[in-house]
Structure formats: structure tokens, C-alpha cells
């Protein structure tokens, strides 16, 4: 029969003091970490020691036992918080960067591109009032140049914005990789520290949770915890961290169809990582959005150049041409002009144009119809070479080819030539008698020929120097429906481009507010469970203090009892 003894009671006091001290230490640790947002409140888990049977049916308690010091954490909630962090940072990143894209447009001011488009087309309309006025012609050229310059600037700004995105993505992937490495390392340390008691390495786990949040800020991740305390991290279904192995997060740029594509990769497999949220996910999408805007701007510039040149090249200036050289290079002069090998940026079609050769002395004009066959049938399609042969056959002018360009020139100074009624678009496609040169937003510019001699600006359509029908036609181009823009006009295309950016930017703003609100709600829930409340800790402390005092009193009581016993 076991003995009931004073030693037993002393032991109870000892366990109570030890456990209470541990509890006070835990409370102290909680209080110390009250300002640490990543800290998870810990509580001591205690239970009575197994009782001692003093008589059959009578069991006396033997004190208290410290079971564990536990983090107050809801792993599922943590997962949702990480998701919300990814979304929140993605939304605010998108908002920030789209704001920068929007500011490139500078819309709703008097310096925006839409105002410049209007100014440019308005100057054509004004030229129609007095087509022979060199001053008004200069205004058209000047406004054309500044429009072209603005388009180029906008292109440049969007391009450097894209570069900035790339640099930022590169920097962030480096960060993400180093965080992933730390998580992998911590995985190892946690397993080691816990030594078969999962969940005991509280501070290491707190550290790992913090790092996971930092990683979520960059990419959207999923986590799977293994029973031994290891935590695997996935992006989509692709693992980033498996146990203690960091597979690596990298950044790659490659040229696809002449465009620089950027992607986040898993280093180990060199495969593209599926990133849909977090800062990197947002940047990836922003990069695509900027790419889309650049494509739209290019298409706008391309159509502006081609449609305006189609009208301009069929028009006539105050004087005829004595020489004209195509501004667009043809790579292969022996293939049809619409063959990809010819490598023209504009599509000429089957049609015809008229060449007028005027003798300046007699004032008489002879006209020749030049047919352009590009229907791909009968094997007689027009090549630059056949066009040159045809044009060279016209009396009093000659045509020659050199390095993929064709030059037309009058045979004598008494002769000048002009073009009209081009239904094939071939003049504009080759860049003869054109207003704009270039084919994209990058290289749009007003033709040097026109800049040097404003008299060559085409305002006329019927061959009379004082005519203004080309000028009025060009003035109406801004709002004319264009087939290759799916029936939209230049004006509408630009407006919809700006609106698309505005709407994405505005929705990013709304999205960012919503995402941060969700994050705050979830974090509030986390705080409710895991956050430290000083008031609560103060009460705990009081309770523990009293418990300690009680235990100490017990020991001193037992001590006195022992003294009494010994002095007997």
C-alpha cells in the first residue's frame, strides 16, 4: 500500500511551482511580443498529474503537469490569409502600374493624343479653306510631326514601362527565391527541433509562417503540411518547395515573334511557373496589358499611316513631282507585293492607279493607267520589278530599282508627274508620294520630302493645283470607318484604347479596396484567435502569480509540518 507522505505534498508544491513558472514565462513571452504582428499567442496546456491510490477506491492527486506550450493558430485561416495577401498585393500592384500606364496617355488634358489627333485633322480641314497657302501647309506638316512625335514618345514610354516591369519582376523573383530557400531551411530545422513532437517548435513555426506570408505577397501559393512538420509549397500544381528542397524561382526573358516575353520559372525544371496572383502575378498581367496597349498603339499608327497615305498618294500638290523614291523597302522584288517575302508592312490589293505626266511648257498632260494585279491567280501578279517595268514604259519618265527601292524620275526638267485614283493602295504601301513614313508607333514620321517642300503636300485630287478635295478627304479620315479596324474609326479606336486602360485601372482600384478589406477581415479573425491581449495576459499573470504564491505557501506549510515532525 503506497504511503501518503509529506514528501508527496512537497512534490505537488514543486510541480505547481514549476508549471506556474512556465506559465508565467509563457505569459511573459506573450506580453513581450504584444507588438509583434507575426507572433502567435501561446498558451500553456496543463493537466493534473496521475493520481495516487491511497486506499482502494481513493485516489489522491499528485500535482500538476505541463503538457505543452501551444500556439493559438487556425491553419486553415492562415491559408486563407495567405490567399488574401496574394490577392491584395496583386490588386494594389495592378492599380499602381496601370495608373502609370494611364498617366502615359495624359488623357482629359489639352496635351493628350486625342487633342493632337484633332488638331492635326483640323489643320487639314483648315488647309481646305486655302489649299495654295504655304503657311497652312506648314501648319499641317508641323501638326503631323508633333502628332508623330507624340505617338513615338508614347510608344517609348510604354516600352520603358514594360522594361521597368521586367526589372521589377526580376528583382522580386530573386526575393521570392531567397524566401523559398529560407522556408526550405526552416523545414529542416523544425523537424530537427521538434524531434517527433510536431507543433512544439513554436518560434520556428512562427518564423516559417511569416516567411510564407512574405512569399504570398509575391506569388500565390498553396501549402501542404506533412505529419512530421515539413511544409510543402506549390504554385498551382507545380511544387516550389518539397521538404527541405527549394526547387528555385527564376526569371526568364525570351524573344517570341520579335517581342520580348517574360516569365517566372521553376529553376530546377526550367519550366514556366503558373503565377496568377501576388505581386509577380500582377506584374505578369500588367506586362501583358502594356503589351496589348502597345499593340493597339501600333495598329492605330499603322492604320493612320496607311489610310492617310492612301489618300495622300492619290492626291497632288501645288507642283508635280520630278523624282520620287519608295520609302518602304521590298525584300524580294521578284515576288508579288503582297507575298510575305516582299515584307511590306501594308497590304496592297488588286486595283489600278493613274500616272499623269505633265509637260510644264505646254501644260498638256498625258495619263497612263497602271494596273496592279494581286489576286494570286493566273501567275501574273504584280511584283516591284514588274511595276518598275510598267512605269519605265511610260513616256518621259523612267523608273529604276536599287536595293529594294524604286525611284521614279522625270526625263527632263520640263516634265513633272503625279498620281491619282489609286484603288490598289500600292503607292501608299510602297511609300511613294506619302505623307507619313514608317509603319508602326515606333517609327511614324512625316516624310522628309514633304517637310523639305510643303508644296508637295497633296491637297488636290483632280489635278488642279488649287483643288482641296484630298485635304477635305483627309480631314474626314479621323471619323471615317476603317475596314482593317473592324469598321471603327481612328478616333473610336483611340478612345476605346484609352477607355480600356481606364476601365482596367478603375477596376483595379475597386479590386484593391475589396482585396484589402478581405485581408483586413481575415486578419481581424486571426487576431481574435492568435493576437495577444495585454488585459487578458494581465489577468493570466495575476492568476498565475496567485497560483505560484499558493504553491509556495503549500511548500512552506509542508516545511513547517516537516519541522514539527523532526522536532518531535
Amino acid at each position: 500500500m503506497p504511503q501518503m507522505s509529506l514528501i508527496g505534498a512537497l512534490n505537488i508544491g514543486k510541480t505547481a511551482m514549476a508549471v506556474t513558472q512556465a506559465a508565467i514565462q509563457t505569459t511573459g513571452n506573450n506580453i513581450a511580443n504584444v507588438g509583434n504582428p507575426d507572433y502567435t499567442r501561446q498558451v500553456t496546456s496543463i493537466s493534473p498529474n496521475k493520481g495516487q491510490q491511497v486506499q482502494p477506491g481513493i485516489i489522491v492527486g499528485t500535482g500538476i503537469n505541463l503538457d505543452a506550450v501551444q500556439r493559438q493558430i487556425d491553419e486553415a485561416l492562415e491559408g486563407r490569409i495567405r490567399g488574401s495577401i496574394s490577392d491584395d498585393s496583386a490588386a494594389s500592384t495592378t492599380e499602381q502600374w496601370l495608373g502609370r500606364v494611364e498617366s502615359v496617355f495624359n488623357e482629359l488634358t489639352d496635351q493628350d493624343l486625342s487633342t493632337q489627333l484633332s488638331t492635326f485633322f483640323n489643320s487639314w480641314s483648315n488647309l481646305a479653306n486655302k489649299p495654295q497657302d504655304i503657311g497652312l501647309r506648314q501648319v499641317v506638316i508641323q501638326n503631323g510631326s508633333s502628332l508623330a512625335q507624340s505617338v513615338q514618345d508614347m510608344y517609348g514610354q510604354l516600352g520603358s514601362l514594360q522594361d521597368d516591369v521586367d526589372k521589377r519582376m526580376e528583382g522580386l523573383t530573386t526575393n521570392a527565391n531567397s524566401i523559398a530557400q529560407q522556408i526550405a531551411d526552416l523545414n529542416g530545422e523544425i523537424v530537427k527541433a521538434e524531434g517527433g513532437t510536431p507543433g512544439s517548435a513554436n518560434s520556428l513555426r512562427d518564423q516559417r509562417d511569416t516567411l510564407l506570408k512574405q512569399l504570398s505577397d509575391l506569388v500565390d501559393i498553396k501549402t501542404v503540411t506533412e505529419p512530421n512538420g515539413l511544409l510543402n509549397v506549390y504554385a498551382g500544381s507545380e511544387p516550389i518547395i518539397l521538404g527541405t528542397d527549394n526547387r528555385g524561382i527564376g526569371f526568364r526573358t525570351e524573344s517570341v515573334n520579335g517581342k520580348l516575353e517574360a516569365s517566372v520559372t521553376i529553376v530546377k525544371t526550367d519550366s514556366e511557373m503558373k503565377v496568377t496572383s501576388g505581386q509577380l502575378g500582377a506584374l505578369d498581367q500588367v506586362r501583358d496589358s502594356i503589351g496589348g496597349v502597345i499593340d493597339n498603339l501600333n495598329s492605330l499608327a499603322n492604320n493612320l499611316i496607311f489610310e492617310l497615305n492612301k489618300l495622300h498618294s492619290s492626291g497632288q500638290g501645288l507642283e508635280g513631282l520630278s523624282t520620287a523614291t519608295t520609302s518602304n523597302l521590298v525584300d524580294d522584288v521578284t515576288v508579288p507585293l503582297n507575298n510575305p517575302d516582299a515584307n511590306l508592312d501594308f497590304a496592297a490589293t488588286t486595283g489600278s492607279f493613274v500616272v499623269h505626266v505633265t509637260n510644264k511648257i505646254t501644260g498638256l498632260t498625258s495619263s497612263t493607267l497602271v494596273q496592279v494585279d494581286l489576286d494570286g491567280k493566273n501567275g501574273n501578279d504584280t511584283t516591284l520589278q514588274s511595276l518598275q517595268t510598267n512605269l519605265d514604259g511610260i513616256a518621259d519618265i523612267s523608273a529604276s530599282l536599287s536595293g529594294g527601292r524604286m525611284t521614279l524620275s522625270a526625263d527632263s526638267t520640263d516634265v513633272e508627274f503625279s498620281f491619282s485614283q489609286d484603288s490598289s493602295g500600292v503607292l501608299a504601301a510602297l511609300g511613294i508620294n506619302s505623307f507619313f513614313t514608317g509603319s508602326t508607333a515606333k517609327d511614324i514620321a512625316v516624310s522628309n520630302v514633304i517637310q523639305d517642300d510643303p508644296a508637295l503636300l497633296s491637297a488636290a485630287k483632280n489635278g488642279e493645283h488649287g483643288d482641296n478635295q484630298t485635304a477635305t478627304a483627309i480631314a474626314g479620315l479621323e471619323s471615317a470607318s476603317i475596314q482593317s479596324l473592324h469598321g471603327a474609326s481612328l478616333k473610336q479606336t483611340y478612345e476605346s484604347m484609352v477607355n480600356t486602360v481606364a476601365i482596367s485601372s478603375a477596376s483595379a482600384k475597386t479590386h484593391a479596396e475589396a482585396a484589402s478589406s478581405i485581408r483586413e477581415t481575415l486578419e481581424a479573425q486571426r487576431e481574435a484567435l492568435s493576437g495577444v491581449s495585454l488585459d487578458e495576459e494581465a489577468v493570466n499573470l495575476m492568476r498565475q502569480q496567485r497560483a505560484f504564491q499558493g504553491a509556495a505557501r503549500l511548500i512552506s506549510a509542508v516545511d513547517e509540518m516537516m519541522k514539527t515532525l523532526l522536532s518531535m
Binding site: 504582428p37 494611364e102 486595283g351 495619263s367 477635305t472 487576431e527
Partner: protein, 643 residues
């Protein structure tokens, strides 16, 4: 603001702090927005502030910018037309002076020296009017149309030649409002004669290179390209013509469709298309999706034509263009290029040799470059050519040179369709009630002809020929083969002499140029239809010359002419005034519209200050409350109460 669930079991210190932080941060952010709105006066600073409103604002901006152009154009047109108006004022003053001089110098009591003096005044008026015709405004010749870079009136051959154009420049003054901002100098000064507009429809035949844009189409609406459905009774195919540019392209497209053995070609008449197939092909051609391609090309055949039968389309009415070959004119018959024609203008007579001409342009170049100072053009509808005498004060005649060239072109100045009323420089043919002429053939048969009902030369010829037929006389009336005039040829073969006399004191014979003696068996009439522009300069020149010579009748005639000119100028001035007013009212309307647009724009873009200030104050109160509660709550702790 964030929605923090308030039913939380515990409130940690961290939570209290972050709630305080985020509330304050958000309120401050909103305060910044209001501050920005209040300081810029705009609530739309970036399109993303409100994409819906921004899109409308952007369109309104665009509208204002477009109206800017209209406004600029209206101002320019207003200035120009006001200048025209005042120029027309001086023009009518000068014409009034000329009329006064004319009327005060008619009568026997005016001395010769007074008339000579008046003549020199008229001469000076002539100069002044020339200056007005060549008036420049802001570097632009007002009355030169689309040739406004050069003076429209030039002195040549003792007359004034109009070298301007009557194509008037137009511009836009609103959505779909395209108006000319010039006055037609040709019409105003009566600069060009209207009587030589070609009367022949030159109707050219097609070639494979004929451009579809040069066709008036089977229905006269042009050729609107789309697709058509061609079938042969068993199979069918849609032929897409949207890329076709010429007749050759259409033919190629149809041939490449390969429906049975159907092939297309230019029809035997040369004026349209023809589709033919093999013996079994029952050709049908239908429109696709409401298109009009088949109709415009004149080959619509909604049910099969019958096995083995070709479908011959109607004429697609090709226009005459500069590039049309002369041989294709007149339904492919061509014109007489061997003999050419003779053009006389004032003292200059030129023979137009068309033997080297291949295209219409060659012909026009030959005529315009002949030195006869005439102007040949394709008419506006592309059916024929016109030859103008642009020189006032000279007479033009266009006559045959032994062939049929002028007639083929329909430009013979004395032709079958010449109205009698315009003969003799507009004095017409004076007929009487009853018979006008009596013709006696060589066999002694005579007959009378009543010309009262005749209105053209052809009517005269018909009247003579039918009267001769009725009287069984051997006389045929026709046109002379070289030069211009009516010829009467005796076919009776009698011993007498062909003779023509006036009856009832009618002037008709003289006015038709027929009071000529017979030469052999033929009476050759003279050309009584020279073409002279009935204009201000010719009338003034006539007045001056009449004053110098003292010809009373001529003075009165010139005065009548000037009266007509004056009336025309006054009418044009009235029209111009009305246009100036229209422009002013458009400008006014534009400004009213701009005002409305701007106020709409302002409601979208500009800050509603009352609302913004109210918002500012609410946010201020909210921020203050946040500060106070945060300070109090964060400061509270149980620890403060523990001993």
C-alpha cells in the same frame, strides 16, 4: 472602409492598433482625394476616376475639337464670302454705270465726240471689271474655282479668256454639311459659252482594263461590289467581287469560280458582260444577301436562262475617261479620226488633226494645245465632251473638215440640235406668220416652207425636206460637209437654177444664212451660229465698239446684254448675301451648341463644390473621431489599474 467583424471573441492589442491605423489611413486618403478635387476644381482628373463619365467627357472634348474645325472653316468662308459680296457690290455698280452710259448715248442728239468720250469711259470700266474678275483675297483668286492659284481672266486674242475653273472648293461646316465657299466666276461673268456642250452620247465599249469605278452601272447607280451567286442548274458558287477593280477582274473571278463550264466575257455589243456555258449549263445569276452586284453589272438572271443559252447583260454604261480609246467610243464604232475638224476662234482658225490620237486624252490635248484658245473637257456625267470658247469678245465655230468628226463628237457648233433662238449671236431666226421661204428646183417646181414651228436646225431641214417631198420637188436639205451651214442640193436635174427666196417679208432665209446664190446645183448656206460667250466682257466690248462706230442698234443690243449681266450679278449677290447669313447663323448655332456641350462637360468633369466641401467636412469629422477614439482606446490597459 474595411469591414471588421465585430462579433469577435477576443480583441487583441494588435487588432485595435491596426484598425486604428487602417481607418485613419483610409480617411486620410479620401481627404486627399477631396483636397485634390477642391484644389484642381475637377473631379475627373484621370479617366479611371470614373471610366463611364470619362468616356463621355472624352467624346465631348472631341466634339468640341471637331466644332473648332467647323468654326475655323465658317470664319474662313464668312471672310471669303463677305469679300465676294463687297466685290459683287462694286461689280454691280460698274455695270450700272455702263448701262447708264449706254442709255444716255442712244439717240440722234448725242454728238460723235461725246460718244467717243463715253467709249473711253467704257474702256476704263472694262479694265476695272477685269481687275474685279481677277480680285485676290488672302492670296486666293476669288473667282477661279479650284484653279485659284492663277488669275482666272486673261486678255488674249483681243478678248478676255476665262482660264479659271467652275469646280468650286467645298469644305465641311458641320456633320454632313459640305458647302462650296466660292462663287462660280464662269457663271457670274458669263465667261463660258454653254452652247457647245457635246450632244452626242459617246457611250464607250468596255475593255478588260475598264475600271469598275468608271462605270455608271446598269441602273445608273454605279457598280456596288459584293458577291453574286452563279448557278448552272446543278451546281452553284458564290463569286466574291469585293476585291475586283476592273472588268477583267470580274471576268477572272467568274471564270475561276468554275461553275459548270460557265465563262464570262465582254458581250458582243461591247457595252456589257456576257456569260456563256456548255450545252447543259442553265445559267442563273442571283444577288447574295441583299447585294446589288449582279443588277449593277446588268447580268441579273434570277431563273435559269435555259440550257446552253448565254446570258447577255445590259449596258453597264461606261463613262468616257481620259484613258478611253477613241476607237471604243460610240458603241465601238469610234469617231472619224481621219478628217478631223476645224475650230475658228476670233481671227484664228485651226484644223484639228486627230489622226495620231489614240485616247480621249490625246484628243483633248490636241484640241487644247491647238492654239485656238478653246477648252475641251469631258462633261460631268462622263457621257461626252464639251468644247468651250472661254474668250469673251471672240466668236468660235467648230466645223467639219470634210468628214464627220465634229458631228460624231456632237460638238459641231452649227449642228442639228442648235436651237434657232441662239443663232446669229442670240438674235434667233425671225419668222413670220405663214410661209417663210420659197424654193424652186431646177425643174421649175417650187414650194413654200413655213418655219414658224421649227425650233432647231434639224426642224428646219425636216420642214424643207417634207415640203419638197409633198410638192414632189427635187430638193434635199442637209449640212455642208466642210465648214458649217445648211446646204440645199438640187436633184431634179432640170435645166433651171435652184433658187431660194423669202416670202411674206420673212427674215428667216437671211437668218439661216441661206440667201446665197446657187453654185451649180447646190446652195451653200453660211455659218450663222458662231459661239460667243454671252458675258460681261463681250457686252462691254460690244458697247465700246458700238459707241466708237455710233451704231445705235448695237448700243441698244449691248445695253440689253448688260442689263442681263446686271440682273445676274444682283441675283448672285443676293445668293451670296444669303450664304453669308447662313454662315453667320451656323456660327451662332455652333456657339450655342458649344455652350450646351461645355456645360454638360463641366457637370461631368468639374467639382461640385458644395458637395465636395460637405464631403470634406464629413471626412474631417470622421478623422477627428478616429483620432480621439484611437487615442483613448490604445491608451487603456488593465495594467494601469493593477496595484
Amino acid at each position: 472602409m474595411a469591414i471588421i467583424p465585430v462579433n469577435l471573441a477576443r480583441v487583441s492589442n494588435q487588432l485595435r492598433m491596426s484598425v486604428a491605423n487602417s481607418t485613419i489611413a483610409k480617411t486620410q486618403q479620401r481627404l486627399l482625394e477631396v483636397q485634390n478635387e477642391l484644389s484642381t476644381g475637377k473631379k475627373l482628373n484621370l479617366p479611371s476616376d470614373n471610366p463611364g463619365d470619362a468616356a463621355i467627357a472624352q467624346q465631348l472634348h472631341k466634339l468640341l475639337e471637331t466644332r473648332d474645325a467647323y468654326s475655323t472653316n465658317l470664319k474662313a468662308a464668312g471672310n471669303q464670302l463677305s469679300e465676294v459680296d463687297s466685290t459683287l457690290g462694286s461689280l454691280s455698280d460698274l455695270l450700272q454705270q455702263a448701262q447708264t452710259i449706254a442709255s444716255s448715248n442712244v439717240g440722234s442728239d448725242v454728238t460723235d465726240s461725246a460718244r467717243q468720250g463715253a467709249a473711253s469711259i467704257v474702256d476704263s470700266l472694262y479694265r476695272q471689271l477685269l481687275d474685279i474678275g481677277n480680285h485676290q483675297f488672302d492670296g486666293m483668286y476669288l473667282f477661279a474655282g479650284d484653279r485659284s492659284t492663277d488669275a482666272p481672266f486673261a486678255e488674249t486674242n483681243g478678248g478676255v479668256q476665262f482660264v479659271g475653273s467652275s469646280n468650286l472648293l467645298k469644305n465641311s461646316y458641320g456633320e454632313n454639311v459640305v458647302l462650296p465657299f466660292m462663287v462660280d466666276g464662269e457663271e457670274l461673268f458669263g465667261a463660258l459659252s454653254s452652247r457647245v456642250e457635246g450632244t452626242a452620247d459617246l457611250s464607250p465599249t468596255l475593255t478588260t482594263s475598264t475600271r469598275l469605278s468608271d462605270l455608271r452601272g446598269a441602273t445608273g447607280d454605279g457598280v456596288r461590289l459584293g458577291s453574286m451567286l452563279i448557278g448552272n442548274g446543278t451546281t452553284s458558287a458564290v463569286v466574291d467581287l469585293s476585291q475586283a477593280d476592273s472588268i477583267g477582274d470580274v471576268i477572272t473571278a467568274i471564270n475561276n469560280a468554275g461553275v459548270g463550264s460557265i465563262t464570262a466575257s465582254i458581250s458582243p455589243s461591247g457595252l456589257g458582260l456576257q456569260l456563256s456555258g456548255g450545252a447543259g449549263d442553265d445559267i442563273s445569276i442571283n444577288e447574295v444577301g441583299g447585294g446589288t452586284s449582279a443588277t449593277d453589272l446588268g447580268i441579273l438572271q434570277s431563273v435559269g436562262a435555259g440550257a446552253g443559252l448565254p446570258v447577255t447583260g445590259s449596258s453597264v454604261q461606261a463613262r468616257v475617261t481620259l484613258l478611253t480609246p477613241l476607237a471604243n467610243l460610240k458603241n465601238g464604232a469610234g469617231i472619224d479620226t481621219t478628217n478631223g475638224m476645224t475650230i475658228t476662234n476670233g481671227l484664228v482658225t485651226k484644223t484639228i488633226d486627230l489622226s495620231g490620237a489614240v485616247t480621249v486624252q490625246d484628243m483633248l490635248n490636241t484640241i487644247n494645245g491647238s492654239g485656238a484658245a478653246v477648252l475641251a473637257q469631258i462633261n460631268a456625267s462622263g457621257t461626252g465632251i464639251n468644247i468651250y470658247n472661254p474668250t469673251q469678245g471672240t466668236n468660235m465655230t467648230i466645223a467639219e473638215n470634210g468628214g464627220t468628226t465634229a458631228n460624231d463628237l456632237g460638238v459641231r457648233s452649227f449642228g442639228p440640235f442648235s436651237p434657232l433662238s441662239e443663232l446669229n449671236l442670240g438674235n434667233g431666226v425671225r419668222t413670220v406668220t405663214g410661209n417663210d421661204i420659197r424654193i424652186t428646183d431646177s425643174g421649175g417646181v417650187s414650194f413654200d416652207v413655213d418655219l414658224s414651228g421649227a425650233s432647231t436646225i434639224q426642224d428646219v431641214l425636216n420642214a424643207i425636206n417634207s415640203a419638197a417631198g409633198a410638192a414632189s420637188a427635187g430638193v434635199t436639205a442637209g449640212f455642208v460637209t466642210t465648214g458649217n451651214g445648211i446646204s440645199l442640193t438640187d436633184t431634179a436635174g432640170g435645166g433651171g437654177t435652184l433658187a431660194l427666196t423669202a416670202t411674206n417679208f420673212s427674215n428667216a432665209a437671211a437668218d439661216l444664212g441661206l440667201t446665197q446664190p446657187a453654185s451649180g446645183r447646190v446652195i451653200t448656206g453660211t455659218d450663222v451660229d458662231p459661239v460667243e460667250p454671252n458675258g460681261i466682257f463681250s457686252h462691254l466690248a460690244a458697247l465700246r465698239n458700238a459707241l466708237r462706230s455710233g451704231d445705235q442698234q448695237a448700243i441698244t443690243d449691248a445695253a440689253d446684254g448688260l442689263k442681263g449681266d446686271y440682273d445676274r450679278v444682283v441675283r448672285v449677290r443676293g445668293e451670296t448675301g444669303a450664304r453669308v447669313q447662313e454662315i453667320e447663323s451656323r456660327q451662332q448655332r455652333l456657339e450655342d451648341q458649344n455652350l450646351a456641350t461645355k456645360s454638360l462637360l463641366s457637370s461631368l468633369e468639374d467639382t461640385d463644390f458644395a458637395e465636395a466641401v460637405a464631403r470634406f467636412q464629413t471626412l474631417q469629422t470622421a478623422l477627428q473621431a478616429s483620432f480621439q477614439t484611437s487615442a483613448k482606446i490604445l491608451d487603456m490597459s488593465l495594467l494601469d489599474f493593477l496595484g
